[in-house]
Each structure stands twice: as structure tokens, then as C-alpha cells.
Symmetry: C2
Subunit: 260 residues, 2 copies
């Protein structure tokens, strides 16, 4: 008897008990066989960090009573979780990796700081079709209900169409009621950055320390950007790559006097 | 009296006392005014991680007796160091940010895991011309002497020609004697990945834990890649970008049935 259900690896960066990943697991169980390998604690803003100077723990865990799928809790980063899943826990490559649903935006330049997206990128590097999902609400009480329909539509499209080597999807969902979401829009990453402010304080021993905080600055008015789509009520889908070569600049660099 | 010397921010991911950054500081002092903000401990493989759930320390430190430049030791990641330098310590944007010289390769896909390159990318996001330098020798006793000439040549070219918005340079230097280095070659990032192996052990309490290790797999035979250049005795220079959009795939994605 052939089992045609796809094997779906689920991870995130907010930690294995976060409401966002619980929603993602529920939707994925309607589509395929699910395995969860996710961090045991919040790993937001970990980017593509991996654990090479420390040990990793990774243990089976039961979070939903009598669940029909397996879950593993890992002491490492989101990227560690993907490596652990594909190389240690599973005997085969999953058909899909989904990461999230993140509590908070990973649009524009946030893609580069995001543990959620780095997990998807890591799966992509290993040749697994992958999608990162994020909802524009940082709170733990965020309402993930309106996201479900869009998560399902995008996953089904990826399973039907596949993704080319070297491309994963970055999906952001506006924090709106279902009736107010206008649909899905394919976008490019907006040109934006963070303007940091350091909050300087003193510890009880009198030593200065800092908290990193900042303001998001969008410098890109383009109507083809993820920021524009999200501000106008659309779910944004940005095809994202990990060949970081600025191919357009190679020709110019070859005109420099590097070997004189 | 106008001071025409460029202000150069130096950072790394191996930590502020590593031989690689000491070499980079020495070469930069021949070219400009130097400020060092670097991690107080090794931060290899931290990718683009930033510290948002913890406090940061950043204090002046004297490593070279009676040095003519300032140094700051920071408890955070390489990306934190760049943010701390530009937003807290300096009153102006530096003219250049250099990161390294890393002990070990950051060629091919390593660019994405690398704290060294993430520091350069962060400077690029903030609009500062930036270069990451790496030597293909992981040891703390690596010989950085042959690197000096190439570091200087590339920095002088960047100061002369500038770099366009959104592009930083990823420079890797083969671990060879000066006479055996063939020159500098502009390249693209090779398509490669790591095949991880987890070394499973038991802690004294009987709980399983893992060490992440792996083998580097280069799937790319292209003679225009950084891997080819390094294997053939060249210093590789890859222009590197942080717009991760897979622009070539947007048109195809628009043909999907995302809104049906």
C-alpha cells in the first residue's frame, strides 16, 4: 500500500510550545505526515547561527496528548533543528519544510535576522522545498485563525508546482480579520533597515550595559515590495535565495586594478 | 586642517584578541584612522544573529600598549558590534568596515553561517562600504603575513572606487606561501553545502547529547567560483548582496493559482 501523503518537517524560532507553531502543525496535519523538530526556547533573531562550540540536546517530547505525529525539542537554533531533523532523526529527506508561524514580521530586511526564515533557507540548501510563515503580531495571544487558509493555499501550491533549486518562500501575513485580507501577492524584498537605539543602563555593580532596540525604516516606496503588500492588506510571498552573489557587479569588479 | 584619512571600523567573529584581527588592525593603521569594536569571545558560525533577549556589555579595552587607536570589547555577536559601533560609540558613519581576518574559510555557502561576513553585511545594510576577509587556516597559529598585501590592495581599491549600495565583498585567501599565491580573482559563490554528521554521546547523567560536525560538499565545478579560485591558488573576491529576492522566479510564481 503506497502512502502518498507528503512528509512535512515543521520548525520555528519562537520555541516548540509557541501558539504559532501549534497552528502550523494543525494545518499541516490536514495535508501530510508531520514531524516536528523545534527549539526548546525562543530563538528569535538568531539568523543563520549554528551551534559548533557547544553540545546539543534533542529529545522526543509530547505536547499534544495522544498526537498522531512525533515531536522533538532541541536545545539549538532553528538551523540546528533542521540539520538535526534531516541528518539524525529522519531516515529520509522530507518532502517539505515549513517554519513558523512566526510571532512578528519577517518582511524586508528582517529576513536576514530571522531564525524562522533561516530554518527555511537551511532546508533549501539541503534541497528540500521550504516556506517560512510569519504573522505581523508579536504577541503570544496573536490570532492565527485568519492565517490558516493562506498557509494551506501556499503549501498546496508548493506541493503541486515544486520549487526550483536555490529558492524558498518568505510568507508574511497581515494582522487583519479574515474579511479584510485581500489575497496573496508575489513581491520582492523591500529595501529597508533598522535604526538602532541603545538603551544604556547600569547594573547593580555600577557597570554600564545596553539593551538593543530600534525603529524600522522603509526606504522603498515600490508597489512590488512586501512592505507595500502588507500595508495594503495582502499576504506577501517573496521568493528568497541563498546564492548571495551580486552577479550584476562582477563585470564592474573585473575592471578594478586588483592585480596591479 | 582637514584630515583626509578614512575612518575604518574593524571587527571580527573570532574575538578581539585573535591573531587575525590583530593583523587586520595593523594593515588598516597604514591606511586610515582605526576604531575596533569586536566580540569579547569567539562568535564563529553566529550568522546574522543579534542580541534582543539579553543585555549587552561594551567597554573600552587596551590590548596593544600605548596604541594610537581605540578598541572596544563587546559581549554580543559580530552584528551587534557593528550596530554598537555605528549607533553608540561613533558620532559619524565610518568610511569603511572591515571584518576578519577570519581563521578559516568563508567561501561558498559558508558566507551564510559566517559571523565575519554577517558583520560586513550589517555594515552594508547601514550604507557603509564593507569587506570580510578570511584565511583558509582554522588554527590560532595561522600565518597571516602573506595575506597583508592582498588585504591592502583590496581595501585601497574599495576606498578608490567605492561600492554600490547593497554590495559588500567576501574575500577568501588561500593558505599558501606568498610566492605561491597567484593573484586576486573576482568570483561567484560556489554552489556547495555541508553534509552534517552528529556525534552522539552520553552526559554523566545518562542523557544523550550531540556534537555537530560535517563534511563540506562542493557540487559546483565552475571555474568562475570562489572554490575553484582558492583551489588554484587565487585570492577570491565575491561581491555579496543582502537583497535575497530570487527576482528570476517572480514571474513564474505569478503563474501559480495562489488566489483561486
Amino acid at each position: 500500500m503506497a502512502d502518498k501523503k507528503p512528509l512535512i518537517l515543521v520548525t520555528n524560532d519562537d520555541g516548540i510550545t509557541a501558539p504559532g507553531i501549534r497552528t502550523l502543525i494543525a494545518v499541516m496535519k490536514e495535508i501530510g505526515d508531520v514531524i516536528v523538530v523545534a527549539p526548546d526556547s525562543p530563538q528569535s533573531a538568531m539568523g543563520h547561527a549554528i551551534t559548533i562550540n557547544n553540545t546539543l540536546y534533542c529529545d522526543p517530547i509530547e505536547i499534544e496528548k495522544n498526537a498522531s505525529h512525533s515531536e522533538y525539542s532541541c536545545s539549538g537554533t532553528p538551523v540546528d533543528c533542521v540539520k538535526m531533523a534531516t541528518r539524525q532523526i529522519l531516515n529520509k529527506k522530507p518532502d517539505l519544510c515549513v517554519s513558523g508561524i512566526n510571532h512578528g514580521s519577517n518582511s524586508a530586511i528582517n529576513v536576514i535576522y530571522s531564525g524562522t526564515m533561516s530554518a527555511a533557507v537551511e532546508a533549501g540548501i539541503e534541497g528540500i522545498p521550504a516556506i517560512g510563515f510569519s504573522l505581523l503580531d508579536y504577541s503570544m495571544t496573536a490570532n492565527f485563525e485568519p492565517s490558516k487558509k493562506y498557509v494551506k493555499a501556499i503549501v498546496e501550491n508548493v506541493l503541486t508546482n515544486g520549487l526550483p533549486k536555490g529558492v524558498v518562500l518568505n510568507v508574511n501575513i497581515p494582522n487583519l480579520k479574515s474579511v479584510d485580507i485581500k489575497g496573496i501577492k508575489v513581491c520582492r524584498q523591500a529595501n529597508a533597515h533598522w535604526k538602532e537605539e541603545f538603551d544604556k543602563r547600569q547594573n547593580p555593580m555600577g557597570r554600564d550595559y545596553y539593551w538593543l532596540s530600534g525603529k524600522f525604516i522603509n526606504e522603498d516606496k515600490g508597489e512590488d515590495t512586501d512592505e507595500w503588500a502588507l500595508q495594503h492588506g495582502f499576504v506577501s510571498v517573496v521568493p528568497t535565495q541563498f546564492d548571495l552573489t551580486a552577479h550584476h557587479y562582477i563585470q564592474e569588479l573585473n575592471n578594478w586594478n586588483l592585480n596591479d
